[in-house]
Symmetry: C3
Subunit: 266 residues, 3 copies
């Protein structure tokens, strides 16, 4: 690799299999974005075949979205097998702060399974750190400082990469931080842009075990393609077209697009 952006081509060369245990709302979009970036999605909710599938998987994406029993019954077992087989895992703890049941379930997941990347919005990641003592986010500047503080703290605690999505996305590993300024707020009007970001991170984990790089490239890919999709919308187009165009742009993405990302590394 002469540059980390070469991983996009490596991904398309290798076509890694990304096993998803995910929610019912965006499962189709996750499959299509995984294909669009150049990887292979596989979705199964069957306990008996977990190990067979993980043996030929390059990454596992775990998304708690709809909290259905088909996911909850196998999530921890799948995570533990993936750990045993050294398959990296992305966790998307959707809505974790919203209910006690989600908090309880994610706490158990984080205790029993080692994740490579955990991706959430500020509220979700704040819930995971469980410590709001030093937080003072009242304007968006302070919010970014809080994000960096929390992201790095949680990264050190869990030994994994933390991605915090928002107006600007943060990718934290220990004391290293990427701030990604790409993206557009309209993307939040399409369901699943977050879930799809986790799928992209999973795809990159299929070519690099460096979770900081994979977390960064997956998040950057979505930011760049989403922003481009919004900017190219016509006046008579809206969020239906936007979803279609996000997948189009991921399919069309190349190394040079990634290099033009609006990124700060510190």
């Amino acid at each position: 690799m002469s540059s980390i952006y070469d991983y996009l081509e490596a991904l398309r060369e290798k076509n890694p299999l990304v096993y998803h245990i995910t929610n019912m709302v965006t499962i189709n979009d996750c499959a299509n974005i995984t294909l669009a970036i150049g990887a292979s999605p596989l979705m199964s909710f069957n306990e008996e075949e977990l190990e067979d599938i993980l043996k030929f998987s390059s990454a596992l994406v775990l998304n708690i979205g709809t909290m259905d029993s088909s996911m909850m019954n196998i999530a921890i077992k799948a995570g533990q097998i993936a750990n045993k087989l050294n398959v990296p895992i992305v966790l998307d703890p959707v809505g974790v702060g919203a209910t006690k049941e989600r908090v309880k379930f994610v706490e158990k997941l984080v205790e029993m399974v080692k994740f490579s990347v955990i991706k959430g919005n500020m509220g979700e990641i704040k819930t995971l750190i469980g410590d709001s003592a030093k937080l003072k986010g009242v304007d968006s500047n302070e919010d970014m400082k809080d994000g960096k503080y929390i992201g790095c703290k949680l990264s050190k605690k869990l030994g994994c990469t933390i991605v915090i999505t928002g107006k600007e996305d943060l990718v934290c590993y220990k004391d290293n931080i990427y701030t990604i300024k790409n993206g557009h707020k309209l993307m939040s009007k399409v369901t699943g842009t977050g879930c799809m970001t986790a799928s992209l991170i999973g795809a990159y984990l299929g070519v690099t075990k460096d979770s900081f790089t994979a977390g960064f490239l997956g998040t950057l890919s979505m930011g760049i393609c989403g922003e481009k999709a919004v900017k190219n919308l016509r006046n008579d187009e809206g969020t239906g077209t936007l979803k279609v165009k996000i997948i189009d742009n991921i399919y069309l993405l190349n190394k040079n697009d990634l290099k033009l990302g609006d990124v700060i590394f510190e």
Copy 2:
């Protein structure tokens, strides 16, 4: 409110949360249309978090579509909690006349849960009234008379708003009827236009507890946007594009579009 059409802007201001317990076929479309109109969708099939979610929900949409156990196991409990918390509920009794199991399940739902709006096609609503004695629909004129008779009768019986979708849509509350002539028959070639209408009604229920108004505005929004989407299709476009354009048009919808609806109130 100087006009009921102002509720669209109120909705976009408030961004009410609409909790969906719905089918597996159109769950993604329901989420995207809810976002497009300006509300927030949440989908969960987990019994343990029903109450937590309903505490911050503005409306509940219950759709029996795929009749899967994940929905059936929680539907009645969710409905009863929503009733207790005063969260309005839309019921979409998909295909209720088609099987004994659906009839039995919906009868139980209607007995144990109080709904704000029930939305179905003529066949579904006829099944719910369980009385075809005075029906004589042989041409579409008589069918509309039957629809008004059934809609008002069922509304009085259940104390809720009844929406009957079809060539013309009827929204009935006691003896008040809106007839909506917008829409286009091609919309029936896209799965989920009915389910999405229920989501839109749920979104409006998030800003007005007046179920007659919410039922009307949700149905009218879909009729106007669907019709516009069909009319703007190019010759080389079909039902794939139509779905995308319906969501686009809901996103682009404004108060003036609603005012131009082809509506009769009686």
Copy 3:
């Protein structure tokens, strides 16, 4: 029928109901493609209503994709009722070679249920024949010979039509073979083109019990429409648009398009 291509119009005239017991990833696309070709999709995972639904179904599509319990618990019973009621069944044994659990489940299905059409890629069909002794596929020419050998052998063994999708699609019934050269490799970058092909075959089975004809017409319809969709993509469009355009083209498909298919019959 003056030509088998007339079945497309017959299908649109009859609007046959195609009952799907299918996976969670592409269930929406299967419903929309079924509507686009002119049939009616119905999806249900409820054991109690299987028989009621099959009584008015023209075909059953069974797809094991996500191997979830909602499908596995009812698949064999649904198949046996369909057999009893003489409702033709399409089996899509997704990923059957990938895990022991899938092999075991499909072997049981094939033993206990009689299918009209089984559709898979070469790997899936090879797993079903369970005999690789005479196979020598190393280049694509030999692979096609293997495909014909396996397809015809499996057809005779199970007494049904075998569809093998790939660079060229093969439709085999006993010693009769259609080779379809339409299609485009980019279609494999959209999830569900295979599942949707099974839905199309199911739709045609609603108007002809001749499984060889239905298997051919369904596969040909997808090949022609997918190829056309790829060729009409603009430079700034990708696989998101491709899915939309495939559904559009199925909706727009007519008899003359089918007649222009690049087909060899032997």
